[in-house]
């Protein structure tokens, strides 16, 4: 599991690369919650290079989203591949996340609020 981190205005863009499963989910969770603790509250997760996700990975996104509602923050997920999107759809979780087809589109989700 690899990360990249980038910032555009007030939005932190986290790029995930590899597999988000029970073996790697904890590392991702620490990364996401670490960003929130650091005071970031607009997180965009770019999943273009995320090959795989299990329920352990979904739980990280749920935990991150929950934490962000407490800080009035916002989480947007972008560019999910078809396999990963299917996991969100099967669990009904797609409907509670903002999922964007592209990074650019995801960034506009924050501008609408600003």
């Amino acid at each position: 599991m690899q990360f990249s981190e980038d910032k555009q205005g007030s939005v932190v863009i986290v790029g995930l690369q590899g597999r988000m499963d029970s073996n790697t989910a904890r590392t991702v969770e620490e990364k996401m919650l670490g960003l929130i603790e650091r005071g970031e509250h607009r997180l965009l997760v770019d999943c273009a290079e995320l090959d795989y996700i299990s329920s352990a990975g979904l739980r990280v996104f749920l935990a991150t989203a929950k934490r962000l509602t407490q800080t009035k923050g916002k989480l947007v997920l972008a560019t999910l591949n078809d396999d990963v999107k299917q996991v969100f759809d099967l669990t009904g979780i797609s409907s509670i996340f903002q999922i964007s087809p592209s990074r650019e589109d995801a960034l506009t989700q924050y501008q609408q609020e600003a």
Partner: protein, 146 residues
């Protein structure tokens, strides 16, 4: 009909990824879609994660878990056999998928996914082992009829 799969792993979450590569290769060799491999791997991952995370005593490492696979006419059967404590994951209650984010309990999604991905999932406790059998229809896989 291809030779059955027989893979032994130990009770370590890090073994799930290499297992998935074996499954990917098996599915690719049969010229079946990569999407099928993804679904089989996800179901195996969820069930193995459960048993590896909760089935053993702390420090009880190096325990063997067997994964077997058989491709037959129009379906695939996978079996997981472990010597962990008796546990039937299918007896877990279904998650409330309509719950709002703040009421949503974190967890319970794994088994739900397995049921969604597979056509049939059964559990047996046999000779001190947990035996999970997963069956999935593969309409595109037919052995030649002559």
């Amino acid at each position: 009909m291809p030779a059955p799969l027989m893979i032994a792993i130990t009770n370590d979450l890090a073994e799930i990824e290499p297992l998935s590569q074996v499954i990917n290769e098996f599915i690719a060799r049969q010229q079946l879609p990569a999407k099928l491999a993804f679904e089989l791997n996800l179901a195996l991952d969820e069930l193995l994660t459960n048993t590896i995370s909760y089935g053993y005593e702390p420090g009880q490492t190096g325990q063997t878990i067997y994964v077997r696979g058989v491709l037959a006419d129009g379906f695939i059967i996978l079996e997981i056999e472990d010597g962990a404590r008796a546990f039937n994951p299918l007896a877990m209650s279904e998650p409330d998928l309509d719950a709002a984010l703040n009421e949503r309990p974190i967890g319970g999604l794994g088994i739900y996914l397995v049921r969604q991905l597979m056509d049939e999932v059964t559990y047996q406790r046999r000779a001190g082992k947990n035996l999970l059998t997963l069956k999935k229809a593969i309409p595109e896989y037919r052995t030649k009829e002559t």
